[in-house]
Structures are given as structure tokens and as C-alpha cells.
Symmetry: C2
Subunit: 142 residues, 2 copies
Amino acid sequence: MPAYEITIGEASRRSGVKVPTIRFYERIGLLPAPARSEGNRRQFDDNDLNRLKFIRHARELGFDMADIRELLAMTEEPQSSCHDADSIAGRHLREIEQRIERLTALRGELQRMVEGCGHGQVCECRVIQILADHDNCRSDVH
Amino acid sequence: MPAYEITIGEASRRSGVKVPTIRFYERIGLLPAPARSEGNRRQFDDNDLNRLKFIRHARELGFDMADIRELLAMTEEPQSSCHDADSIAGRHLREIEQRIERLTALRGELQRMVEGCGHGQVCECRVIQILADHDNCRSDVH
DNA sequence: CCTTGCTCCTATAGCCGCTATAGGAATTAG
DNA sequence: CTAATTCCTATAGCGGCTATAGGAGCAAGG
């Protein structure tokens, strides 16, 4: 069967990647420029669709563009070692773990703030006080 | 005692906010434009320093600029109700909790990926497989 | 007094990963 | 045949900085 013509709108619906984002991915070279119809519309195929879904999934998992480029390149050489994929994922896992730790510490601080707030005046508000109390925390948070 | 002249560099060291970032905060109106010396250097005072520390702490806690503007405005009206500060912090706390949840789910998926990887070829790599397996997750992640 | 090297100044561009807008052209539905 | 929808390109903007270029001021050593 001949590949059924997939417009950008349909590719968007079927991949979960928004139309302008698909064009953006093409511009930055994450997605190969697809064929065009007579009227200059993009015509995607199943390969493109798979690539888009792959990208979306990786983005949902928080991989950045550089990582995704590497992972995509690997899928194109299925015989090569998966050591790199493993180490990208492992590094990312450690980053996520650190973010969870930081956010958990942060949640503690916010909980203390909100619980300590007596709902009175700003001058005795724990939320404001903690923010103004500058020497009790050093961490960077993202 | 007269306020000791604080240069931008010293303000940076003492607040933990980088020099270009201080200038940036001034430009976007988060920090009032300070007095200038004869040679056109910024001269900060203890008030500015406190404001910078407040901003840094709030940024570390992940508050965005709009929230920080509101919180700063509140500190200037200490008689007013702290209901708003409380609700900003509460809303932020809920956001953080959601981020923790998402990241925890994500960590699980990444752990499964990394553990499942047999360190062999890409064609049988679990990391790549999970990414290419498009229909097993719907969440948005930030 | 003069040079060296540091800090400071402004203005502008770039980062990431999109998202929005303007101003059209082509296709599709009724 | 028209009206609505989809598509096209190009460009600017978002948040929250960070980097760069091209100077000017200032403090310390020779």
C-alpha cells in the first residue's frame, strides 16, 4: 500500500506535537524536511510520525534537544552499542533524582511557611518573614 | 552612621545575585534604580541589599517574577492582610507537589529503562525501545 | 606620574524550547 | 461559488537570565 498522505495537521493530531512545534523541529534539523505537495504542503510519512512520537516521548521524559539528537542518531544505527543510550539515560536519571531532592526540601520550606502563616497582617506573616530571613538556605533550585 | 557605599560587585557578593542579574533586575523594575556616584557607578544601600536577598531566596524557592513582584509589594505595606502572600505560597506549594509527583513517575520510567538495558546493541536496547513505544504515557512534564 | 589590571558602564545579542502574530495562498465543505 | 479551514513563510516574543563588545573609572605598584 502506498503511504497515505499525512498533512501537518494530521501529523500533529497523531503525534501529539503541535503544528508550529513540528515546523520548529524541522527548522532546527530534528526532523528531516518532508516531501511537498503541488500546493507546497508538507507530506509526512509513517517514519516521520514515529520520529515525532519518539521526540515527544523523550521531551515528556525531560531529555533536552542535544540528548534527543543523540538518541535519534542511535536509532538509525541499530547494530551499534547501546552504551551511549544507557549513559544518557543514566545521567538524566541522576539529574531527575537531584531535582526531586531539591523540590522535596523546598516543599518542606513552603509547608512551614504556609502552616506558620496566621492569616493576619503582613508584618507578622511567616511567608514574608521566611523570604526576608536571608541566611537560612543556600541551595540552587530549578 | 552614614550608609557605607555598596558597589554592584559587593552587592553581588553579599546578596548572592550575580552582577549582570542585578542590572537586569533594575531594568525590569524589580529593584529600584539606585543612586549613582560621580563616576556613574551604582551605589546600593542596605535596603537594596535586603531586597536582593529577598528576591534571591524567593527565586531559589521557585517563585516566578510575577509572584515576587506581589510579595515585594506586600512587604512595603506591612499593615495589610497577608492573605495574598499565603495564597501565593499555597498555590506555589501545590505546583511543587505536582512537579514532585511527575518527576517521581518519570524517575520510575527512567529506572526501568536503565535497568532493562542489557548493554548490548541499540536494536535491543530498552532505553530506545521505551522511547519508541509511543502509546504508554500521556503526562506533560516540566 | 604612569601603567597595569581590575571593576564598572551601556547596549545588544543569544540561550532553550517553544508560542504567537501577521499576512497571505491553497484546499475543503456546504 | 463562497466561506471556513488549513496551510504557508517570516519574524518577534516569552522567562530569566548570560555573554559579548567596546569603552570609562579607579586603586595600587613601580
